[in-house]
């Protein structure tokens, strides 16, 4: 199924319903880039998000953190994608791509943080709590400046 283009890059296809990435499995150092199709991200079996933007990247978290995949990515439609093997080495040889991935991660951190704050505010409103902590994450020691 996979088609070699360059030694570190191959083209791959996944039919609808199949799993591109399985939570808990070792990453193997590859990053996937969506060419066409729609996927959904599941964590602990719970839906997290849908991705259909060509150019979207998966697997970068486990490659960067050198740990098993933190979520499952499943094809909603038939999916075509590029697989970058030995991704860390490839990215270091292309610093602008690495920077792009850092930017993408920062955007995701920002988006999830905003959702957390919204959820926390809603919770506080539900509970009729009058004082909302100025920083929900103050206990993290991770200021995100």
């Amino acid at each position: 199924m996979a088609e070699e283009t360059e030694s570190w890059l191959k083209f791959d296809f996944f039919p609808a319903g199949s799993e591109l990435i399985v939570q808990g499995r070792q990453a193997g150092g590859s990053i996937m880039v969506l060419k066409e199709g729609e996927v959904e991200v599941l964590r602990d079996g719970k839906f997290v998000s849908t991705i259909k933007q060509p150019g979207a990247i998966f697997g970068e978290m486990s490659v960067l953190l050198e740990r098993p995949h933190s979520a499952t990515v499943r094809a909603v439609t038939d999916v075509q994608l590029y697989v970058i093997n030995d991704a860390l080495k490839v990215l270091e040889a292309h610093p602008s791509w690495l920077l792009q991935i850092a930017r993408l991660l920062a955007q995701r951190v920002n988006a999830t943080t905003a959702q957390l704050v919204a959820l926390k505010s809603r919770e506080a409103a539900d509970d009729d709590v009058l004082v909302l902590p100025t920083n929900v994450f103050s206990s993290w020691g991770d200021p995100q400046i």
Binding site: L99, F137, W140
Partner: protein, 141 residues
Amino acid sequence: MEQILVAAATLPVSVLGPRAVLVNEGARTGKLYILKSGDLEVVRDGSTVAAIGDPGSVIGDMSALLDLPHSATVRTRNGAEVHVADDADAFLDAHPAAARHIARLLAARLHKTTALLVDMRRQAKVREDQVMFDKIFALLE
């Protein structure tokens, strides 16, 4: 940490006295700061929310990468030496090890925020179910 300090060694160092402000909440500098020595504190809406004391700690990454204003004020406690990259993009482009270090930090941060989000959504769902049951049983009384 060490890799970023090696890359940061190419940058100028700013020496700050006690209680000196490094970045102001709401300001947009496009700069990246790497702590060389000393201690910093993060102040948001007038309250100290975190302390930064590990050499190699990165300040301003989110703001520089996303071209957003700084979300908090960072100032020294007793004083600090800080490496300053005036152009964060150019610095990261020239130092892949530093870019990889920051990408790793962001990935770890995303891992935490996503885990927390999934957990909070789960708790919210449980609470919603409880409210619904409370309403149903209230109707039965």
